[in-house]
Subunit: 328 residues, 4 copies
């Protein structure tokens, strides 16, 4: 129990994700509920260094639960990588009588938060907010579910054209290192093939699979490609290669890009963000620090930052099998 | 291992839910994948009795993963409650050389399936497809996630009007016995109060809470009401009572109704349906019967029908606390 | 040319509609563009009387073009119906050096605006903002297109259930006096029958039509009912009557209600609102008053308030014929 | 009045657009309504040549009004450019006793249809189905309104990220020759700048405008770029140029691509398609040929193919002015 806790600062950092506003709201509302004070920090760690704060109370966060992005804004901060920057940040927190910090973001955010928390006597709690779902120790990160729906809705639209014209579409989705978005949205969108970084399908097996697909009576096809996939990395080149080898297909490319980061959060992400925002303040009251709050089988868990960042998250092999079967 | 397994019938029964088509597709595709045959039954158990079948292969289920409802249709069947009806159903299955049955639906469906499976030498597997999430032994039922998004999107629209006019809206959502939809959508939509069957708030505490809400600076409010809630059951009467006692509010009622059952399934529901559809056929191949396939902490589980139906599902008390806090 | 024009007030009044925020934004931005000043009035005419103003500049209206409702809020004002209230309103405008007024709303709003404009030496321009499309002299009102999309998306969901269960759904949509929403959304949603106030179909012809529908092979049906329709006014009673006379149908009722007023505006409504907001300020600069700006065949038109309010808008008989044909 | 009219063929050709299915449905339903027969042709003119027909009645087109794409499929046909191909097509129509042809598509489609109609004694009516709105003589083409909504919803998502990160986004939308999509979606999405083929803004004026934008307090910006715009044609190069010259911005590029062609049609497009589909059959009954049916100020018009194709459609200069003003 942290008895001296009186004022909490909250910030968002790294790439924005849908539900960050809902998480900020829950942090703020729980501070009010627990008779604590709350300040927001603009533009992540950079705002911490530049002393860019705003007082927040329960009414400051009304009507934001349904909005994408983060009203506190986010930014990358080179200065926070330097001891001098972090010292300034600490000083700014002290000057405002801030006792604890909640950071919402991904692994980069948690790395910075962990260093900061180890250097200074200020408890820091992390909330996983990233569409990539690449944080260890939590079943889901905030924004991931919304991103999946965005991708699937986009591919539903593309499929209208694909099947009207008997075409093959390569659709690039986010995921530099993790194939979760590609695998799940690929199954959800009924893709014929899914290319992910964790698995090297190889172009030959891809060609063979597409050939078989045509033989089995499929006239149009969607291939979902994670941006970090071995053979899909250069998607234009891959499209050309397929076109050269499978002239019976008309091959097209769509890169979904930044629409995947935005949009009104799904109910799941709003509820998750509300739970984790509340849990972060609860954890501070319980005297915790240097941990991320996450969710495992519907229960709140506390995960040390180093585990959240370094732990190996593995791809769901059962789902890869399902993907193979349902694209029969 | 069921070595004599050759042909599987699949049907949907009870209220339709988004993702049922995706589940049928996965059942059919896995039969093709495993070199089995598949037939669909129209209109649930009633079609079984009336011999209303259709042969299905991998191509029969293309372009349906994104569609709400069920292309096999659903119906209530009084006849299936009679031994005579079930005898006819069994005979029709035998006449078509069907070796096993997959049923997609809710507790009513599983009750019928369980009786049938006990009476005749035909293995039956259930897949939980209902928006109510009221089946024991699985974390989620197919359609629940989509219904939550539908409700939250509808309330987002209502909130536009509520805050433009400083009004109080009572929004009735589905849930005769279970408050899961109300509780989760209420948190997701940022409701001020949530009325669920599992908890008797009482009208006085509701009035008090709404009064406090106004005092704290809130000018508009949303109250989400599960249709089975004690005081919310008669929502028009409740609205009148609130209006009489809180004349400072302008009270309005919206009953969301049947829009909650339809719509293109969310990515989550499509993936869940794909996994469970595949798992149902896998279970038959493994010689299982009289069980429901479900998902628990991302893993496939096999739940005896009697547990699925009778087990007590409890409301998430942690989330009730979160709801209280974030509506501060 | 109004040379003394320096400061313009803008308000929204009556029922809110999607696109009102976009219209306010365009008014404000055009005042900035023309080197004029702008103030917003909260809660319509009531805020005018209660002196509830806010200074607005180009940055005040950022990021609102996509939001439903009206951030200036809306309210009914009994006081504005009294000479005393209007005198107060005028005094408040004078005290703030406001030279002209832009009002966004429907016929009630324009009635008040017209009286006010005739009583006092202050030019007033109206912008048609209502989902009902019941204003004479403009092809479209702001919010109407969005409401149509909302209704059609809702009925698409209901149709999933209707066709899964072979049911007949009566869907009530807005339209006390005008059937535009019902007729257009009915055609858009593929309804079998559409009941509108302008046409008295009669229950017998409705029954006959539904009977024929079944005979022609339709297994499910949607009937769209405007709330002001003669026989559809009491929709529950109508449903009971149909059920009694057509026992082969399973009849269900859904009242769409307030979801029709909210939501992010469609592109069409945003563009229309932008054009009309700009045109309102242009009209004031041109010395106009006591008129509504509207759009006719893609061109801006100026319509005297009395014409906008009293002119008879007629139902599109060609579209009624189309509705009959496409529901064959 | 065409007294010998008995059987009508309908096809879709060129790029698919949302609402094509609704148009086919209206053609088919009106033939049934008028006691005529109808056949569908798969894959446009190519299917005509390859004798790929299907009989259609009122029930064949149920539950398709809400679906994107075209269930009759579309294709480009080199063969139809040759006299021999067209001769074959004519012979196939005669062999099936088809008396008239309805073609749904854009200017390429109408060019082919016009030649065919002049060569052979078979009346042909066109329906404008293309997202580009680049057909002369009709206010709107089927699919255009839906495409605008798709673009605006996508940019709404991108804006979440843009404003969370204070970034500048270049968003490429469709429009090789016509800037209608860019201009209207740009106004609808609240873009700071809009680049269209009809207007050569010049990179210098773009830079200047963006600089001014920053000075006026805007921290993030969206620039909508039609793919055919002079300086926006090579969007990556343009982004690099801006980045070099405006280092205070972080510049990002998103190419919306094929999601713009698909999706469930808006209510407006469904109603337009229903009206034009009915009108096409009406026109054939009236003995018309070699014309397109279109809509002008809500009324059906008949436009000779050569006018529809060659007439110059001009950009809406009033809207360009509105775009300038509302981006203040």
């Amino acid at each position: 129990m942290n008895t001296k806790l009186n004022k909490i600062a909250v910030l968002t950092s790294g790439g924005d994700s849908p539900g960050m506003n809902a998480a900020i709201r829950a942090v703020v509302r729980n501070t009010t509920y627990q008779n604590l004070k709350c300040v927001g920090v603009y533009r992540g760690f950079q705002g911490l260094i530049e002393n860019d704060f705003i007082d927040l109370d329960a009414r400051s966060v009304k009507n934001i639960i349904n909005r994408g992005g983060t009203f506190l804004k986010s930014a990358r901060s080179k200065d926070f990588r330097e001891a001098e920057g972090r010292q300034k940040a600490y000083q700014n927190l002290k000057n405002r009588d801030v006792d604890a910090l909640v950071v919402i973001g991904g692994d980069g955010t948690f790395t910075g938060a962990s260093i900061f928390s180890n250097e200074f006597d200020i408890p820091v709690i992390g909330i996983p907010g990233t569409i990539d779902n690449d944080i260890n120790g939590t079943d889901f990160t905030i924004g991931y579910d919304t991103a999946l729906n965005t991708v699937v809705e986009a591919i539903d639209k593309i499929r209208d054209t694909a099947s009207s014209h008997d075409r093959l579409f390569l659709v690039e989705v986010m995921g530099r290192d993790a194939g979760d978005i590609a695998l799940n949205s690929g199954v959800g969108a009924g893709a014929e093939e899914i290319l992910i970084p964790e698995e090297d399908l190889g172009t030959n097996r891809l060609l063979e699979s597409l050939r078989k697909s045509r033989t089995s009576g499929k006239t149009s096809s969607i291939v979902v490609v994670a941006e970090g996939d071995q053979i899909g990395k250069n998607i234009t080149k891959l499209a050309g290669y397929i076109q050269d080898n499978l002239p019976e297909y008309e091959v097209k490319v769509t890169v979904l890009g930044h629409i995947q980061r935005g949009g009104s959060p799904s109910c799941y992400d709003r509820v998750l963000a509300s739970r984790l925002g509340v849990a972060a303040v609860d954890a501070l009251i319980d005297g915790k620090s240097n941990i991320m709050v996450g969710v495992s089988h519907k229960k709140i868990v506390h995960v040390p930052f180093e585990v959240a960042i370094n732990g190996q998250k593995t791809i769901d092999n059962d789902l890869i099998r399902v993907a193979d079967i349902v694209s029969t």
